[in-house]
């Protein structure tokens, strides 16, 4: 709470600093007029630079302090506690510290307060108070130092504009760093967890095992089969079904929209189709489970085929519908990007519209379309909700789309839901599965992006 006040004060000081810089540079510019060229930069830049010098270092120190202070105080109190109450287990220390913190902050605790606890709480409160005032003093000192330093640097030939530019550049670099570091962090943690999993199950058994049966075991030793192949085959089956639905329908939609539809129709149809992409996948899943599955089942019965209500077919079909806008929208963009001059050339040679599309537009757009299809495929592989609900969750290695299957994503969900010890192979396998999935989709995306980019270069 008091921290927020400090932040508010800081911001206020920065505003003042901005004005100081602004005014000083203006005054200087007016004075400098007589002799030679005025200030190097516009007054705003001097203001901004003073404000940044004033605020940025202070904020940094403030943040570091806030992160470090609690653990420092805690360590001091723990040291004092152990010297007075003898050695304790880490669990006892944790409980004691929680009580002490509550007492120190004035919340009060259940039960009587022992003298040792009271003393420790008092010590903690004292340290916190010292810490707080020191922090304010330090931050304010830095603020003033920065202010004076930057203020004095304002000279006609001081290139404030370039300095601000540099600060902005660093800020942008740090921002992009956040995204990259997060990705790297996720990958690293997945890799380390996967390695832990491989200490229980050999990679050979994992990648080439044909049985998926991760039995529960309290001993921590691996039991049952951890073969990924049944899951991959399920994933592949569902994805193939999905792409079989999505690619032809999506592509034809794209061609129709790009080449034949009147602008009016296109302006209505395109957003409507794209709405499909906005429907939450859980809705698709429910739709698959309640409508599509039973429908396929009854159709199968009518023509003498045994089709499970929850099957690779059901999940794949609905997923295919979900992917239609993905493919049609991307392909439509790519087909419209084929230059009009190529169409004109073909028409000018006496080709009909469909001949032009078949012989010129599609071949020219093909790399881009392939890219779109690959992107859609990587989405299909990573899709979870529809498959959880509609694929039947049967991790068996088989190739019949009418049967229930399970996919990698579904299995990850299964392994992590319920009461599980996160150190057991049953849980850790989720990381191995996740990493495998990540590598597959990453590969597909890289290939797709490469193809799309190569295609783009051709016309621009």
């Amino acid at each position: 709470m008091t921290n927020w006040m400090l932040v508010a004060v800081l911001l206020g000081v920065m505003a003042v600093a901005y004005h100081l810089g602004l005014t000083r540079s203006r005054v200087m510019a007016r004075a400098g007029n007589a002799r030679r060229a005025a200030m190097h930069s516009r007054p705003g830049y001097y203001g901004a630079l003073v404000a940044l010098w004033c605020g940025l270092p202070a904020f940094l120190v403030f943040a570091v302090w806030n992160i470090a202070e609690p653990s420092l105080i805690r360590n001091a109190v723990v040291t004092m506690l152990s010297s007075e109450a003898g050695t304790m287990t880490s669990q006892q220390v944790g409980i004691a510290m929680q009580r002490i913190e509550s007492i120190a902050s004035g919340f009060g605790v259940a039960g009587d307060v022992t003298p040792v606890e009271a003393a420790a709480a008092a010590e903690m409160a004292r340290l916190q108070a010292i810490g707080f005032y020191t922090k304010i003093a330090l931050v304010m000192a830095i603020v003033l130092g920065g202010l004076v330093f930057a203020y004095r640097r304002i000279k006609p030939d001081f290139r404030a504009r370039n300095h601000v530019e540099q600060i902005v550049r660093i800020a942008m670099f740090l921002a992009s760093g956040v995204a990259i570091l997060t990705t790297v962090g996720i990958v690293l943690s997945m890799v380390s967890e996967t390695l832990r999993f491989f200490s229980f199950v050999s990679p050979l058994d994992f990648f080439f095992g044909t049985v998926w049966d991760p039995r529960f075991s309290t001993t921590g030793a691996a039991g049952g089969g951890y073969g990924i192949l049944p899951l991959l085959s399920g994933t592949l089956l569902v994805s193939v079904v999905a792409m079989t639905v999505a690619v032809p329908v999506g592509l034809m939609t794209a061609i129709f929209l790009a080449e034949y539809a009147t602008p009016r129709f296109r302006s209505i149809a395109k957003p409507v189709i794209e709405v499909l992409a906005g429907i939450p996948t859980i809705v698709y899943g429910v739709f698959a489970l309640i409508v599509v599955g039973p429908f396929f089942s009854s159709v199968g019965a009518a023509i003498g085929l045994e089709i499970r209500a929850t099957s690779a077919l059901t999940a794949g079909f609905v997923m295919g519908i979900m992917l239609i806008p993905f493919i049609s929208s991307l392909s439509d963009d790519i087909i419209t990007q084929v230059p009009r001059s190529l169409r004109d050339a073909s028409m000018g040679l006496g080709a009909t519209r469909s001949e032009t599309i078949r012989r010129v537009v599609l071949p020219a757009a093909l790399p881009g379309v392939v890219g779109a299809v690959l992107l859609a495929a990587s989405r299909a592989i990573g899709e979870t909700m529809i498959v959880v609900l509609a694929a039947g969750n049967s991790p068996v290695l088989q190739g019949n789309p009418f049967e229930a299957v399970s996919t990698v994503t579904v299995t990850i969900v299964n392994q992590l839901t319920g009461d599980q010890d996160f150190a057991s192979p049953q849980s850790l396998v989720a990381f191995a599965l996740g990493l495998t999935l990540f590598v597959i989709t990453l590969g597909l995306n890289v290939v797709a992006l490469y193809i799309v980019r190569k295609y783009r270069e051709q016309y621009d």
Binding site: T262, P263, P339, S341, L342, R343, D344, A345, S346, M347, G348, L349, G350, A351, T352, E355, R359, V360, P363, A364, Q458
Partner: protein, 277 residues
Amino acid sequence: MNMANSQPGSMMTNTLGKAASQQMSREVTVSAQDVKVYYGDTQAIKGINLDIYRNEVIAFIGPSGCGKSTFLRVLNRMNDTIDGCRVEGKVTLDGEDIYDKSLDVVLLRARVGMVFQKPNPFPKSIFENIAYGPRLHGLASSKTDLEGIVESSLKRAGLWNEVKDRLDQPGTGLSGGQQQRLCIARTIAVSPEMILMDEPCSALDPIATAKVEELISELSREYTIAIVTHSMQQAARVSHRTAYFHLGDLIEVNATDKVFTQPEHELTEAYITGRFG
């Protein structure tokens, strides 16, 4: 560049002398009568009458937006591909009304070829670029036949010696000027009667432009050519007659020599001497 002349067997050297291109016969190929074109509500062309004679090169000049390109596109009905474009009046090709309902547009475009402003080879091999049209219209009965068409088209476009060793390479890999001559060769490959050129050199450097211009005068022995150009010097160099368009009207059509020394209309004079606007 003078490929055709260095090839004794090629068609144009013997059958048609240079005289044919200079002394044009007065046989009318295309006749436009009171042609009006509308884009939606705006009128782009206001009633143009123009006869184009066999084996002549006629240049259409005029300031931007004067309707010269639009009129060119009337002649092979390329305007049909533009939404909201409406053509009135009568245009005949060898006496046949090309806007008649019974006429097949696709066949018309094979008879009246078109070369565009920007070289637009298909992203296919050089061979396939030329073979595209003949394949569409079934002009070749065998592979050898097709190869013959490709070779003779490239020769007539003066490109054969430059590309004969790399027919399987993409047409988009050629230089701009070569690409444009490839596009011309592609047009010739379907044996049109007439070739329309819409600012064919505006994207080319002067050397490539000179080569294309040379090609145009070679081709005029066999084909009727209508060319839209922004370069008055180009019109003066390559054409037999020049038509000056202004705000959708045809102001003046005359022998090019006359238009560029003694234009009849003051608008033409103002335009070609650079006194416009």
